[in-house]
């Protein structure tokens, strides 16, 4: 974008030209399957979720109660030295009302995703989850209290989705 340069290179193509195969292209879908190790801390976290409980790790140096749990405190750079249960209620730290699915397709009914600061964990500690049972999404505000809605015990598999969603605690 210097005035000294007159021509900027690049041959533009319209998306539909590519989609309709009007120019030659090569297509490839790599097969990439993964088995991600849950790790020490999250393995226990998932086990506890199956039991309907949320567990955190604690660091005695800085006093934080951390969820999701981890085996090292990244601030003190030392191993965490304890476990503690936190509640399945919390407060909405921030949220978004998404009309986009994970693959960018449009949704008629939005997904409400939020970071929830769980009661019992240190300030600011949050987990990501959905908020449901909200007839009008404009109702949701930062600071509202929420509670987890769990799957029945026999349907739980040891996954973050053992919590189906969080619902607003209306007074």
């Amino acid at each position: 974008m210097s005035v000294k340069i007159k021509n900027f290179p690049g041959e533009e193509l319209e998306t539909k030209v590519i989609k309709e195969g009007k120019i030659p292209t090569e297509r490839c879908r790599p097969k990439a399957k993964f088995a991600w190790s849950a790790g020490i801390a999250i393995s226990r976290f998932l086990d506890e979720l199956k039991n309907g409980k949320i567990i955190a790790t604690t660091c005695s140096k800085c006093g934080r109660i951390m969820v999701p749990p981890r085996i090292y405190c990244e601030k003190c750079y030392a191993p965490t030295d304890g476990w503690a249960y936190v509640k399945d209620t919390g407060v909405v730290n921030t949220f978004s009302v998404s009309f986009l699915a994970a693959d960018a397709t449009r949704l008629k009914e939005p997904i409400i995703v939020a970071i929830i600061n769980l009661d019992g964990a240190s300030e600011g500690m949050g987990i990501v989850h959905r908020i449901e049972e909200v007839p009008d999404w404009k109702e949701v505000k930062i600071g509202m209290k929420v509670k987890a809605v769990w799957k029945p015990p026999r349907e739980r598999t040891g996954s973050i989705t053992d919590i189906k969603y969080f619902k607003l605690m209306r007074e």
């Binding site: 690049g10 790599p30 921030t94 978004s96």
Partner: protein, 388 residues
């Protein structure tokens, strides 16, 4: 002085930024690199080292993308490094180039940034979702736009900012881009247009976001002795800073980017800047979303926390204001080929300080500019201070 040698930018090159370009990544890298070399009056054999910056391999769909792009970036049989810090790459790459020259090891370094996002089908956004934790976050159905939306909401809430104020940034940058020959999305829009655009993930609407793009940019770095031989108008890299936060983004209060402040302080210390709003003449903060320009202006210490929307409303950040911000049109106006976008901002400061920015030229005698890029899972800050 930090480093053994002072380092200057002596030439810059750039391709068009478009949703789809026919050129392969190698060809894009070539075009930008050749243009930068020609601008500097140098040949490939004068280049002693090459640094490439390019964001995830998953966009171009080529594993070890840095290696793939190497010959297009003139790195044939040369010392070559590829760096990658997500969206922060575009400013981090010249920082890595700076290490090469400031250390005294190489007299020249060609810095290239390339992105070809159109290969990822049907939309590059899909490749992004793998940044989320596979066990705790992906099963919830995470979409990339959500993290911006969560951050924007928190920022608005904390400082009581309305969407109308944020939309002004999109209006400004798209309009600035009308004077940028490489821009993808230059347009004359209004705040109403932004507020009426499709809701993607509230509070993010369509006109709040920059698009995905293909494109490449390059700059040539030279040590002080070489720079003075090659040009009368070198632009010095006087400050560099970089910083990372954790990917445990759910632990943080998202209203303020601490890691940007951390990188900015490092760069300002090196450049001897004590009062950023007074000593900096123009800024190119990273603006993939309109609220991000405000978020980053505050992280760059160009104003107090929560004050950036006020400066925008008052016209301070317009091209003829006291602190022109994103005079290039930014990512909102030019497009967002991730790594190339950040280097585009660095090149804009380079051209502005030399008086070569044509219709985009800011008035007065700008001497000091700052460019910043932000990346990964909302965790990386890279800051560069350029001076004439």
């Amino acid at each position: 002085m930090f480093g053994k040698k002072r380092v200057a930018i002596v030439g810059a090159g750039i391709t068009l930024f478009r949703r789809n370009l026919k050129e392969t990544g190698k060809e894009l890298s070539y075009h930008a690199s050749k243009m930068a070399l020609d601008a500097a009056g140098l040949e490939l054999r004068d280049i002693k080292s090459v640094v490439m910056g390019s964001a995830p391999d998953a966009f171009d769909g080529v594993h070890m993308k840095g290696e793939y792009l190497a010959d297009g970036a003139g790195a044939y049989h040369k010392p070559y490094t590829r760096v990658f810090v997500g969206g922060g790459t575009g400013v981090f790459t010249p920082l890595a180039g700076w290490w090469h020259v400031a250390s005294g090891q190489f007299d020249t370094c060609l810095v290239v940034c390339e992105e070809k996002m159109s290969s990822c089908y049907p939309h590059p956004q899909f490749a992004f979702t793998t940044i989320f934790d596979p066990i705790l976050e992906r099963p919830v159905g995470m979409n990339l736009v959500w993290i911006f939306a969560l951050e924007m909401n928190r920022y608005m809430h904390r400082h009581n900012i309305k969407k109308e104020d944020i939309a002004l940034v999109s209006v400004k940058n798209k309009r600035n881009a009308l004077d940028n020959p490489i821009a993808q999305l230059a347009a004359r829009i209004t705040v109403e247009d932004v507020l009426n655009s499709e809701i993607m993930a509230w509070p993010v609407q369509r006109l709040d976001i920059s698009p995905t793009s293909d494109g490449a940019a390059a700059v040539v770095l030279a040590s002080e002795d070489v720079a003075k031989e090659v040009t009368d108008n070198p632009v010095w890299i006087d400050g560099v800073g970089w910083c990372i936060d954790s990917t445990q983004w759910t632990d943080r209060d998202l209203y303020y980017p601490d890691y940007v402040e951390c990188a900015a302080r490092m760069a300002y210390k090196m450049a001897g800047i004590k009062n950023p709003p007074k000593e900096i003449d123009l800024a190119e903060p990273y603006d993939p979303f309109d609220y991000k320009e405000l978020h980053h202006m505050e992280g760059l210490l160009l104003c107090k926390k929560g004050e950036a929307p006020k400066l925008t409303k008052e016209g301070v950040t317009q091209r003829d204001g006291d602190l022109p911000t994103c005079p290039s049109g930014g990512l909102l106006g030019c497009g967002n080929p991730i790594a190339a976008a950040g280097l585009m901002k660095v090149s804009e400061i380079f051209w502005q300080l030399r008086g070569e920015a044509g219709k985009r030229q800011i008035r007065g005698d700008p001497r000091t500019g700052v460019a910043q890029a932000w990346g990964d899972l909302m965790q990386y800050g890279a800051v560069i201070v350029l001076r004439r």
